[in-house]
């Protein structure tokens, strides 16, 4: 399987107060990071239900990054702590389903941490690139992985 042609599709759920602000700052600072990421702004990562994470994989995401505030620094006090536990639960479920748990990751970013966020996104995209496309066929199409195997 040739991964050099594969462009991962990574969803990044970013909380409005920290991670999204950091992404904004990264833009202002003209920091370059891979375009493979689609950022979804949420009021807080605590808004993320487990269903959002599993639906992302069901509809074809190759990887999902959850970026919340630093622990102790959540605008809503503990939203990011709820997200942490839900992400952990979802990672365990990915294992049960037969998907690699490395496809889902949570990072903690403050609004000033533009460079660490871009590094986290770059790292996630690279991790997913190495893992290869999601083996889940979706939308009636076979995944490119199963086509080539």
């Amino acid at each position: 399987m040739e991964n050099s042609e594969f462009q991962p599709s990574v969803l990044a759920f970013c909380c409005h107060y920290c991670a999204y602000a950091a992404a904004d700052l990264a833009g202002t600072m003209r920091i370059q990071y891979p375009p493979n990421v689609r950022i979804i702004r949420t009021p807080c990562t605590g808004r993320l239900e487990t269903e959002f994470l599993i639906k992302a994989f069901e509809t074809g995401a190759d990887g999902v990054l959850v970026a919340g505030c630093l622990e102790g620094g959540c605008h809503y006090t503990s939203g990011n702590l709820y997200a942490k536990r839900r992400v952990q639960y979802m990672c365990d479920m990915l294992d049960e389903i037969g998907l690699e748990k490395e496809r889902l990751r949570m990072v903690n970013i403050s609004a000033a941490m533009a460079r660490p966020l871009s590094d986290a996104i770059t790292d996630m995209v690279e991790t997913v690139r190495k893992l290869g496309p999601s083996p889940v066929p979706h939308n009636g199409h076979k995944s490119s992985a199963s086509l080539k195997s």
Binding site: E51, E96, I97, G98, H138
Partner: protein, 222 residues
């Protein structure tokens, strides 16, 4: 309330994989409260089964529906159309709910998606604890409201085994010694003298062995 836990995905997939159209049926009562089989869990499990089936090249369409209770005909009949449309039902109700669904829709395979575990309560967020074993002959009045059948690992009815360390059970170190709790409670309510009474061996014939238990209220039968 009844507390249950979702079966693991590999086991569930194995159970349902031969079907083409599956209805995942949730229940809005006990299993919703214990976060095992409510509408949200139906959604998550259905997505998981779809992903699992696609990963394995198995053609499986999953429909989702949650009814208020699976142990009442009034609600069970609301699922009729959905059950009809599908080849099989994966019920996320407790054991009673699964069987009620299976009895009502007897021409379709009905499977259990949960392991029904115990009668218990929510002790703190995310932790449910067993309280009642449904032994059929409640003796809580003699033990200050603390059940020696469920709380004591040895089900002792006549005082501690003497093996407890600090206040922890000898068998289960993460559990408090039930008899320590019973003693403290009886002392608090001024009923310590109840401990002087020797309880005879428990009559287990009212409990789980011996076939299906029935309760009949003639005053409510026509």
């Amino acid at each position: 309330m009844i507390v249950a836990e979702r079966k693991k995905i590999p086991e569930l997939f194995d159970i349902v994989k031969e079907h083409k159209k599956l209805l995942v049926l949730g229940c809005g009562t006990c299993v919703t409260v214990c976060l095992a089989g409510g509408e949200r869990e139906v959604g998550i499990l259905s997505s998981a089964l779809r992903i699992s089936s696609r990963l394995r090249g198995v053609d499986l369409a999953v429909e989702e529906l949650t009814i208020e209770r699976q142990c009442d005909n009034v609600f069970i009949e609301q699922a009729a159309d959905a059950v009809e449309r599908n080849d099989a039902v994966l019920s996320l109700g407790c054991g009673a709910g699964v069987q009620a669904i299976a009895e009502r829709y007897h021409s379709k395979p009905v499977y259990a998606g949960l392991n029904t575990t115990f009668i218990g309560v929510l002790e703190e967020q995310g932790i449910w604890a067993e309280k009642c074993a449904a032994c059929g002959a409640c003796v809580l009045h003699d033990y200050g409201g603390i059940c020696p059948v469920t709380r004591c690992a040895k089900r002792m009815l006549n005082g501690p085994c003497g093996g407890s360390r600090e206040d922890r059970c000898e068998v289960r170190a993460d559990s408090p010694c039930a008899w320590q709790l019973i003693y403290a409670r009886l002392k608090e309510i001024g009923q310590l003298d109840k401990l002087r009474r020797v309880a005879p061996p428990k009559n287990w014939s009212h409990s789980i062995d011996g076939g299906q238990r029935l309760i009949v209220r003639q005053d409510h039968r026509i």
